[in-house]
């Protein structure tokens, strides 16, 4: 049960950066009004960030991952989150088992 000092420092840096992003929005809305086109542009950031995170998995890792991403996305149109995620995991595991 040891904690390395450089690891602790890295964890604190991550925690500080993350706290900044969490509190930043509250501070922002006290000073800036987010209306009209500015709000529209800012609303596009969450899907853009999420897409950027998953894009390498979806399009540049392998056929199994690409197919499983498509399965998950289609499932998400109709099914609850947990079911869609489970379908994606089962798809990727079976596709990999078949060597795809």
């Amino acid at each position: 049960m040891t904690v390395d000092l450089t690891t602790l420092l890295a964890i604190i840096a991550m925690a500080a950066a993350t706290a900044l992003t969490r509190l930043g929005g509250l501070i922002l809305i006290r000073h800036v009004s987010l209306e009209g086109s500015r709000r529209k542009a800012i609303e596009s950031i969450p899907p853009a960030v999420l897409m950027a995170v998953v894009a390498p998995t979806a399009f540049a890792t392998g056929l199994a991952e690409t197919i499983a991403c498509a399965v998950t996305a289609f499932a998400a149109l109709r099914l609850p989150m947990l079911v869609s995620v489970a379908l994606g995991v089962v798809s990727v595991a079976s596709l990999r088992a078949f060597g795809i």
Binding site: V3, T6, L9, A16, L26, I42, A52, E65, T72, A93
Partner: protein
Amino acid sequence: MKENARLADFLGGMRAIAPLIAAVVPIGLVFGAVAATKGLTPAEAGLMSTLVFAGGSQFVAMDIWTHPASWVGVGFAALMVNIRHLLMSASLGTRMQGFGPRERYFAMLFLADEIWAMAEFRAKVARLTPAWFAGLVAPFYLAWVVSGIGGAGLGAFLGDPVVLGLDFAFPAVFIVLVMGFWKGPETGAVLLASGAAAVATQHFVPGVWYIAAGAVAGLLTALVSGNRRSVEVTS
């Protein structure tokens, strides 16, 4: 507020988050197992989950982890991956009339994608109260920390997460969240720009710059399509 009403709100929040706890436990186990393969002790993995409490950035940190750890590298990566919280917090902040000023900041420290989504959904149908929000956070936070420590302790016993497909649980959750943000062709253009920029950047630039590249490309696309629309309206 009466104690009974507060308890009912707390339990209501717990009920709303229950299915997402079932989803987060395997992800927490995988995070712990991955952290163990990178040489982190269960204590270190647990400390990271406790203090950071942001799955995406924790996985990215494991991806780029070095010995000794680079606090600049993982700190900057956490900022890039979690910058989306800024917008979630700005949006949710406008729906927290039921919170005191200090409660607002304290509650926001526990913001996560799943908690944000549930809280926004609640605020559409009822007044969001601190008790209801606490009902979301308490079990979810506990599940994340405990499963992370468990995963790091079990490590190799969990089996290969790649064979079980569990490494895919995290991208799958993000895909479901992306689909939830769909608002028509404009969203499609944003996603296309972001995805293309991210894949291209990840191919040519080492590290996590692809996340920033994708986010900026998506934002620029939204700005351009927004401007073009307003030009059409005025001309």
